[in-house]
């Protein structure tokens, strides 16, 4: 049975359900309790579950992320909310040097079943320090899993998927998606971690995207359709692991591919995907691969500058047209 709700509500319901079903699950982060969450995701949850399970932390990213790891080591199933990706830098040592390594380094003795949720992305004129998209960067690290829910369904499902996973899972929720609306079917079987989803089938070119860029790509696909260009649009859903199989099948089908990635292009997830396509589907390509990424600048405050810097449907359309013209 399907319900229409906002992405924010879907995340909240995902957390609520997890906490109802498993007493080991708790959430901690800045302002998740009394404030109701910086993006109102956890509104009402502290009232429902109490301050011992929805915990307000001091501004100590390193300590509370490390505490999440410790609690996970010791039998709990914590959800750590780092307010935004921008603040995750303060917890990098715990994430990279503990969460990602403990299982391997201990010879398989200690796994870390931790979920870390972060809001990500720019586009709100919050300037350079508050507009980062590091999901691709985190996807570089073995030992971590990186999820990027775009749809309302995934916003709900990925909470459960992350908690069920025995290893650290980072969930990146694009902050501009919280208000977006979509269908949620709580009874549907969740698509597993590591599977991409074809949102729009097409034959002329493949557009690979994740997070909010999925919707920009779908919008671009409509424009392109009117011009007679039939784009296939794929939601990557999971940046680590990537769904090579679905990606290569699409490349094999359309022979032209472009990637939309809100990170900076240098050493990005789009670069990684291009490398894999080169390795696995080189002979399927009829044209060089293309990508639309954020311009290599710290994101500026002024709207026109920020809009020019981050991926937009117009840029996706323009790049797709060029991709079709390539000799």
């Amino acid at each position: 049975m399907s319900e229409n709700m906002t992405y924010r509500e879907a995340v909240r319901e995902g957390i609520r359900k997890a906490m109802q079903e498993d007493e080991r699950v708790f959430m901690m982060g800045e302002d998740v309790g009394r404030y109701g969450g910086c993006f109102a995701v956890s509104m009402g949850l502290q009232e429902a579950f109490g301050p011992e399970r929805i915990i307000d932390t001091p501004l100590s990213e390193s300590a509370f992320t490390g505490a999440g790891i410790g609690a996970a080591l010791n039998g709990m199933r914590p959800i750590v909310e780092i307010m935004t990706t921008n603040f995750s830098l303060l917890a990098l040592d715990q994430i990279m040097n503990n969460a990602a390594t403990l299982l391997h380094m201990s010879g398989g003795q200690f796994n870390v079943p931790l979920v870390i949720r972060m809001a990500t992305g720019g586009g709100k004129q919050l300037a350079a320090q508050h507009s980062h998209s590091f999901e691709g960067w985190f996807a570089h690290i073995p030992g971590l899993k990186v999820l990027t829910p775009a749809s309302v369904q995934d916003a709900y499902d990925m909470i459960a998927l992350g908690l069920a996973d025995p290893d650290p899972v980072l969930i990146f929720e694009n902050s501009l998606l919280y208000n977006s609306k979509g269908e949620l079917d709580t009874a549907a079987t969740a698509l597993p971690i590591g599977k991409a989803l074809v949102h729009r089938s097409g034959k002329d070119l493949s557009i690979l995207a994740y997070g909010i860029n999925l919707f920009k790509a779908l919008e671009a696909a409509e424009t392109l359709a009117a011009e007679g260009i039939d784009a296939e649009v794929i939601d990557l859903r999971s940046l680590r692991p990537l769904d090579d199989k679905t990606i290569m099948a699409s490349v094999k089908k359309t022979h032209r591919v472009m990637i939309v990635d809100e990170g900076w292009k240098s050493g990005s997830i789009s670069a990684e995907i291009m490398a894999r396509i080169n390795e696995q589907a080189f002979f399927e390509l009829d044209a060089p691969m293309r990508r639309v990424c954020t311009q290599e600048v710290p994101l500026p405050y002024a709207k026109h500058l920020e809009d020019a810097a981050i991926p937009q449907p117009e840029k996706i359309v323009a790049t797709a047209r060029e991709l079709m013209e390539e000799l």
Partner: protein, 402 residues
């Protein structure tokens, strides 16, 4: 007897200088006792002996640099009997890398992927079957080269397994014969010329044309113009041919199925040599509507686009006659081969200073041999002669070509 060696004190330590012995030969030492000092990149560090015993022999003098693992002294442990030392040379200062080799000889094996096993059936959107069974797998570099060489990739693909790369292009050609590369273009030309020679009964005519008036006139015209507006002799000649064809239209058309079809538009194929070798004859379309200036512009544009490989298909298929102007290569007379389904080909030789007899006098003029090869099924010598004569007349009055 055991060796007291230069110890490894760090993963990146390769050697150190033995600075000072704290003991001498014959001294008793105890386990843990510092018996020497070494100078490392990080400063002077004391080093200790790991057993009780007596210093039998010092092997390395002070202020000597030694690699990690170098024996520095011989220690006779407490329990040993004294013995005769064999005469041996001990290497004192060899600087070698001290990185130890891995002890195992097991070959590298493929690492297994820890696969994520889905526990439930997932319904995935069905994707269309791809058509890559019929798809030619070619590397971008090979694809580009094949295009340049005019190689038909589908033919090549049917003969090779796997993907086509650069080396496959070379071997495929070498496999054919020892002869130099027969490009696709060459093949096409070979085909056409064979057909022409087989099917078309050619007749050949020629006429010497005094080009002095035309060239003089052209020189004066160009002198008054900026460089970008100057007319090349080739454009003048083409314009003249076009005008002549307007008088003698029978040569401008096609022979198809025993029908001689005249063309309303005059689209002379202009023979243009390509940089990489080979000849191509794209058409100037609708030259009957062009002035001399327009002819020049069209010619310039055609040559540019030909060299840039940007011709339109109409230019490659709608020639109504061919002009081959090989004059700049030094040939005086060109006996052309007609490109079917055209019915004529005009050759314009090199303009040379030649003796010219006129009015009982001998002088020197700039002379060009114009030739015509005609399809005798479509026209006869009379038509051809008329054309050449007309061409000659026209070129004596160049000002009318504007």
């Amino acid at each position: 007897m055991s060796e007291f060696k230069m110890p490894s004190l760090g993963a990146d330590m390769e050697s150190a200088v033995l600075m000072e012995w704290r003991i001498k030969e014959g001294d008793t030492v105890t386990k843990g006792q510092v018996i020497a000092e070494v100078e490392t990149s990080k400063g002077v560090i004391e080093i200790e002996v790991f057993e009780d015993g007596t210093v039998e022999k010092i092997l390395v003098q002070e202020e000597t640099e030694c690699a990690v693992g170098t024996p520095l002294a011989l220690i006779r442990s407490k329990s040993e009997e004294p013995e005769e030392l064999p005469e041996k040379e001990f290497i004192s200062s060899k600087i070698e890398s001290s990185i130890s080799q891995p002890k195992t000889d097991t070959p590298m094996q493929e690492p297994e992927q820890a696969a994520i096993k889905p526990t439930r059936e997932e319904e995935l959107p069905v994707q269309e079957e791809s058509s890559s069974e019929t798809r030619v797998k070619v590397s971008p570099a090979a694809r580009k080269k094949a295009q340049e060489m005019g190689i038909d990739l589908s033919v090549l693909a049917s003969r090779s397994e796997g993907a086509i790369q650069l080396k496959n292009l070379e071997t495929s050609v070498a496999a054919k014969e020892k002869a130099p590369l027969l490009s696709g273009m060459r093949q096409a030309i070979a085909k056409a010329m064979s057909r022409s020679n087989t099917e078309i009964p050619h007749y050949y005519l020629s006429i010497p044309i005094n080009m002095t008036p035309a060239l003089t006139w052209l020189g004066e015209l160009n002198a008054k113009r900026s460089i970008d507006k100057r007319i090349l002799p080739a454009a003048l000649l083409i314009r003249a041919v076009v005008r002549a064809l307007e008088e003698v239209p029978e040569l401008n058309g096609y022979w198809q199925n025993y029908n001689h079809l005249l063309s309303k538009s005059i689209n002379p194929g202009i023979a243009i040599a390509l940089r990489k070798g080979g000849l191509i004859t794209p058409a100037l379309l609708n030259t009957q509507e062009m002035s001399l200036d327009q002819t020049m512009q069209a010619l310039d544009d055609l040559i540019t686009r030909t060299r840039a490989n940007k011709l339109r298909s109409s230019e490659m298929t709608q020639q109504t006659i061919t002009i081959t102007n090989l004059g700049d290569l030094g040939v005086e007379r060109v006996y052309g081969v007609i490109y079917p389904p055209q019915v004529a080909i005009i050759g314009l030789g090199r303009i040379t200073d030649s003796p010219w007899a006129e009015n009982d006098a001998l002088s020197v003029r700039k002379v060009m041999q114009a030739t015509l090869a005609g399809d005798h099924r479509a026209t006869d010598g009379r038509t051809g002669a008329l054309f050449l004569d007309t061409l000659n007349q026209i070129l004596q009055k160049p000002e009318e070509l504007l």
